[in-house]
Symmetry: D2
Subunit: 333 residues, 4 copies
């Protein structure tokens, strides 16, 4: 066996914990050597659960440790720019959760640092690694549907996060839509030239205070001549509903499914199936696969297929969508 990539995970919230778990036990070629969280107690607990020797409440320690090859940044978005910069300056490769940064200026700064330091940086657009989306990419490349001309995305959450989260989320077009902006670029292989956005508060009145909506639709045009519509919703009172379509000049692809367990119950009331309940269930394997890709790239000296540039591009679209919604006008990019 090759020498494994020694990883530290920074930030041990829900996502950070998963990343830590995946690095510790499911990703080949990686070794989790340290977990870090400002709440030292929590870091200690996670270290115990995952059988990791080291933990720390001081994230800077990690950057200074020469035995660490790569960091997984799952701390709050507001800290991303600083974390990436420190990691890069210390020669550590970086996996960072989406969104790359809070704003575009920060994203540009971060890209400059990455260019200078030559470290590898992958952004956590895990949907690209979901077997269904990954297969869609292959089919399109193979020409199964001719030239891709339209992307239609649906991202629906089973209800709203609490007001506290919404307040700091950047709004539905940024927080919820960003995965679909990345997927549209990925599957259409084109860049956005303009965005329009509309939305309404259908259920969660409290959102009005923050200028946010619980149901929105963004429309984008692309430099290839393609277009896209993306529905973002907090109103799936039945489960977690992520679907995509790519219309091509010779056919169309439907991606994803509501189905959870492969079982149907038939009674006189009808036939019923479980629906995928939440995003951990839907994208469990995607989280493992994206981390495996990151480690494989480090082991093989390759560039990840989702770079910091992709992180910045999706952020640009998100920021434009937010502005388009606020101004009521189409925003060119």
């Amino acid at each position: 066996m090759e020498k494994p990539i020694r990883c530290a995970v920074l930030g041990l919230g829900r996502l950070g914990y998963w990343h830590a778990e995946n690095v510790a036990s499911k990703v080949k070629g990686a070794k989790l050597v340290c977990v870090a969280d400002p709440q030292t107690d929590h870091a200690a607990k996670v270290a115990g659960e995952l059988g990791v020797d080291r933990y720390t409440g001081n994230l800077n320690e990690v950057f200074e440790d020469d035995s660490i090859d790569a960091v997984v940044i799952a701390s709050p978005t507001s800290t991303h720019a600083d974390m990436i910069t420190q990691a890069a300056r210390n020669g550590k490769h970086i996996f960072v959760e989406k969104p790359l940064t809070v704003d575009l200026q920060e994203a540009s700064d971060v890209l400059r640092v990455l260019e200078e330091t030559k470290v590898v940086c992958q952004v956590g657009f895990m949907r690209r690694f979901d077997p269904a989306y990954a297969e869609a990419k292959k089919r399109i490349a193979r020409g199964d549907i001719g030239k891709p001309i339209y992307y239609k995305g649906v991202s629906r959450d089973p209800g709203s996060p609490p007001a506290e989260f919404i307040k700091n989320s950047g709004g539905i077009f940024l927080d919820l839509g960003i995965h679909d902006y990345d997927l549209a670029r990925f599957l259409l292989e084109a860049e956005v030239t303009s965005v329009a956005a509309h939305g309404s508060v259908l259920v969660h009145g409290f959102m009005e205070e923050f200028g946010d909506v619980d149901q929105g639709i963004a429309y984008a045009t692309f430099d290839s001549g393609a277009a896209a519509d993306i529905e973002c919703s907090r109103n799936a009172y039945y489960g977690y509903d992520i679907r995509g379509e790519v219309i091509g000049t010779e056919g169309t692809l439907l991606i994803g499914s509501l189905r959870h367990r492969d079982i149907s119950v038939l009674t006189f009331k009808g036939s019923s199936q479980d629906i995928v309940p939440d995003f951990p269930t839907r994208f469990e394997s995607a989280y493992v696969l994206e981390m495996q890709h990151f480690i494989d790239c480090l082991l093989n000296g390759q560039k990840p297929s989702v770079t910091a540039e992709d992180g910045k591009k999706a952020l640009e679209i998100a920021v434009a969508a937010k502005k388009a919604f606020e101004t009521g006008s189409r925003v060119p990019l």
Copy 2:
């Protein structure tokens, strides 16, 4: 417009009524001129509802009427042989409900009469006209699955008919299985060489008295080398479930669907769809299409695709299946 085929319907139970309704309003080229039922009052009522000028309680009147071209026989099976014989002797074309007759001797007698009189006779194996089964036939003929080698049928009723019906039904392997025996011959294009059958009373204890079961399976071999299994059940506590499969040397066909209305309701309990509730719903169009075929054959001087010979063949298999179940041994044909 060509001169329409003048039809009479004999026997106005549930099936007879549908045939009358279809002839009266949905089948092109046919004219319903008389409805007959031993219960004259009922015949009068049906005539009124369907706008038919003539009705009678004396079925023999129909046979003697030279203005009638064709009869639809939907009277009890025990009367079929006599009805067919009289109709044929009087030069009337015949559509007769399945099963052709009560026993094989009668079937042979009837076939002889039909041969002598040269009238057209179609048996009511309506599933052959169901768009899904008809399409399966086309696909097999086109070679989509290579050579057909196995037929797997499921016929499940949503519960049992009353004891009175079961008592006189001939048993599940005859009453319920006969459509699938015909479909197996139709789709495999082969004749049965042996039948085995097994079954159990799972729910309806009263059946034991009649030597019948509420769940059975028949296994048949064919002269082409193909084989088949056919499940007959009274235990579909969710709807009417008719499914078929044809395994071929290059693929397999699945025929039919449980789905009723094209609507899904999604809630946190799951996704649910309606199930086809009963046989009128499932085979509504098949009943119209089989009658249209009968009339078209009369208008064009063609032989129907489901003949009295087919009726006799299916009866032979059914009788063998019954015997195989009763004796516990495989019965050669």
Copy 3:
């Protein structure tokens, strides 16, 4: 049997022919007594095919004939206002194809005439009678999904009509979208307060000349607080794709299916099913059921569930969507 409603069909293009066929043979309580088309030869031919005694090339004859109870108007949209007015002034009940009229002023004029003359008028929004949409309406009324808050419609044609048709069609937001505007009103039970619209020419370059697009999306808000998005497309290179969703506060309804025949072919290449190929196939029963509803209303002295007012409302939304697309701004209603 009650005295049937004596009907004439005006305009014998594809739709007019279907209506004539349905009235002649599939709708109970109706009698087709006359078919009319400016091309007298064609009218004669249709009369022969459908066994109708009378035909005419002079549509005015129909209005003056006191023995005719009702007319089915399937002539070009530009003639609707005049046809409706003449029919109403002559006391004839009216079934008119959608759209009601060419413009809103005409629609207002027509509504006034209908009010004065008290004749019954039904507009041909046949999707309301499609079993899936009709069932959706029932489920929503029954409370299965709580309060309906969002309608998502997809209407995709398998390619574009010829340039000549597109030129005079009024554009995709009017021609293709109008059914969904009606369905959104029908299923959300609310009126539109504003419309935005976006679109692109993805494939059919010739449309640019007419200011039309082959893929568009309209976003509407409703007086109940609900919202809707409606995709209109000429780019379904796989079949005829009509789908709808209604999101409610306690669940969601999915309406419709791509599936055509209930058969699956399984080979090593995968599982495949037929897709609904075109609108006659998809909505065959809806055309019969809407006409049956019209006749039933006349027989029972009831108001149809789809009135001329509904026709005008949908037209208003369509006109607003077109304007929104052309100006790039949201249009209030």
Copy 4:
């Protein structure tokens, strides 16, 4: 972290390799400390790939090593009885692939040894751990379908293994059917009282030489009054097709799906989906979950839910089915 269970894997064929891989990296609480195979070179290679310190070509070494807690037996079935006996006599817990042994006498002997030595023994009926079957069990226990009265299993392989394998396989009713016998007992919670079996050579003529068939059906009755039919086939020329149904007195469960990737390609030829290609793909997670269950039982001092007794019971049914097929008569148990 608790002290992990130290495991050795005996036999490194395809299944043995998977078990080794799962123990090494996917099962929590287990540590793979040794891999053994008569081909020492192969054992060495596997040890290198999986990062295991020890390998051996002498399986007896493993039994004598006190530091090993448990063995996974994936050597040929003919060696199972001896392996189990040695492992048990040396106090090692046992996971053994199905079938438990070659014949019933051996199975009885093995059970006696296990009883004496009190070691834990789990048999590899991994389908019980497949999420769909496991969920079915829960739903039945919860009463979703009333009392279970019928099991219908379909197990179809995408073609036949080579003649050499078939020759030593024990025949389709033993080799292919054994999983379904176990599932029928598991889901119906009842024991078999009689078995009948029928079959044909539909495609693979060479099987006749070995008295085997490529398509068979077994019918079983149970002491609860329930019944079952189980289709075994080598003729799925489209993929790997494992389906199950459990009919209950208040509804029915359908288990499993042909669907592979959650993607549909729509073209004018129709809609198509991938089909599950093979058993590793279908049951990947089941293999991990069964091993996790084994380790969890060892860690918690619990009895596995699939015991050697279950292994013997399934073997009894398989032997009876084989005899029933050979004699043409129903065989009581």
